[in-house]
Symmetry: C2
Subunit: 337 residues, 2 copies
Amino acid sequence: MNDNKRISIKEIARLADTSIATVSRIINKKGGYSKETERLVNDIIDTYGYVSNMAAKSLRESKSHTIGIIVPDISNDFFATIALHVEKTLKQHNYSCYICNTSNDEETEKEYFKDLDSKLVDGIICISGLKNLPENISNRNIPIVCIDRKPANSKNIPIVSNNDTEASYEATKLLIEKGCKQIIYISAFPLEHHLQARRQGYEKALLDHNIKLDKNLIFYLTGKDISYVESEVLVAEFLQAGNTCDGILATSDRIALGALYALKRYDIKIPEEVKLIGFDNSLYSRLPSPSISTISRNTVMLASEGCRILLDMLDGKTPENLETIVPAYIVERESTK
Amino acid sequence: MNDNKRISIKEIARLADTSIATVSRIINKKGGYSKETERLVNDIIDTYGYVSNMAAKSLRESKSHTIGIIVPDISNDFFATIALHVEKTLKQHNYSCYICNTSNDEETEKEYFKDLDSKLVDGIICISGLKNLPENISNRNIPIVCIDRKPANSKNIPIVSNNDTEASYEATKLLIEKGCKQIIYISAFPLEHHLQARRQGYEKALLDHNIKLDKNLIFYLTGKDISYVESEVLVAEFLQAGNTCDGILATSDRIALGALYALKRYDIKIPEEVKLIGFDNSLYSRLPSPSISTISRNTVMLASEGCRILLDMLDGKTPENLETIVPAYIVERESTK
DNA sequence: ATGAAAGCGCTAACAA
DNA sequence: TTGTTAGCGCTTTCAT
């Protein structure tokens, strides 16, 4: 078959001396043809290496058997793991995936939504960075499931996320129980709902343990630099100014890592003098010495729950719950031991 | 526009009281229409949130403005970085990307090739795990560029890879110059060409420095477990048996990390007693303490060279070089200092 | 069990 | 500058 041209069902029909309708039926196993023609047609398909033309199929059916996955940053372990798991799961249900990397850029994300719309994707799994989803996509009635982050105008869109408030509460509590009294809180700028939830958990834990909230211990990154760089600078400046602390809660492992670097730079012993805990259970917490305690977000479950809901919606079902909570849990490592 | 139905150019034409041909021309900026109709049509497009139907466009044009990216494992930092960079680069040239994660599974990879063919992708960037590319795809005359790994039957397919032999040579030389005489070599099972190249570089460096090759110092992983686990076990057993070494060259950072863990377990000082170097310049070498010296593969350049060549091919040019070598270079860290 | 034909939305060749 | 029309490959309805 050294022919580089794609063969069509029309051609197959001609070769099998039958009609394109029959060929189509055979390819899609719809029944209504003889064993004999079936064998003949399948033989031709094999010999000529026929591959269906998805564009034509999609045009005709107004669907693409494809799902779009929107991720902020595929080179981030956390998102990559989710994307990977989503892809694998959906593949088992005969969907392929467009992975769209927004680089946390709002304009890019909007473009991708349009792109996915244009490509007739059957559904979207979305870890969005947008405050609001684009109007047109939300009006298109295309099934969307959000993971981790929830755009404000997504009232009817199911979301799968963690019990962030509680997880953050537990992390703070762990530090307190290990004797910490001055606990720094470092977070990315809390545009997103889940970051606000974490702050609440932190505050509640302090309150419940009679520790007065000290606003001077709360820091937000600007996002102008890589998070661990910003975090390192911030903690270093804090220490340089003669301030003290005995615990640090960071809302990501990368932020925690920056803190770790700063503490090391000032020869502060971890966990003896300062205890440290992050979020995400990524390589950033697993690999450093001392290894950093962290909150596992349970990426596999975030992904599989998201898929389950999306697949239900693709089947025409209405999701019973708009909010699905995946339990995050503490992974204790050297930095709090 | 609370209508969830997609509007077509036919509908636009009706609303603008013109023909679909004119609308098509305006959308694609082909010229041959008045300023006035242009404005009118664009207004309608905006108000109705028109989005083109890619399936129809692809069917008509026999191309999809989409590139397929085949990767073995998107949750691996090294591949993810390449995929990300490829996606960003191609996006600037108005191509979107299918990222296909093969999980190092041959069957999956073959399926994906078929899938990409079916989706009429205009080109493929391929970090393949296959010994041979599928027949049908190589006969389809669709532009393919391989990165890092080269299937055997890809005679006419351009490949972008590193100068692995030299890089490995330099790494070994570095260890030797720092005084190492018993250098362990640990590699994944060398099905792939670039792993054989690295072994050659290692051997040549030993030879050039009058160190006799000791086959007992050469180890291959089976691939039955995660590489750093296998590597840790392997080095631990080596030490347990009372053997000694003063340097380790690992063909990936993950393998190097396993070695690091084993050495630490036996309280062997790095770099004082044993020096260690890996490959990839990933988080696995950057984050641990001591940090691990490594060979940077120059992922950004691997990706951008791959894109450059593919874009040329998409323009109908024949690539001038079938082999493009991207220089890998040593990143020295604590483990060899 | 099979076939003829319509039509999905689009581009491009041709006509006006 | 604009419009008419064929046809890309496919599924599906309606005949037979």
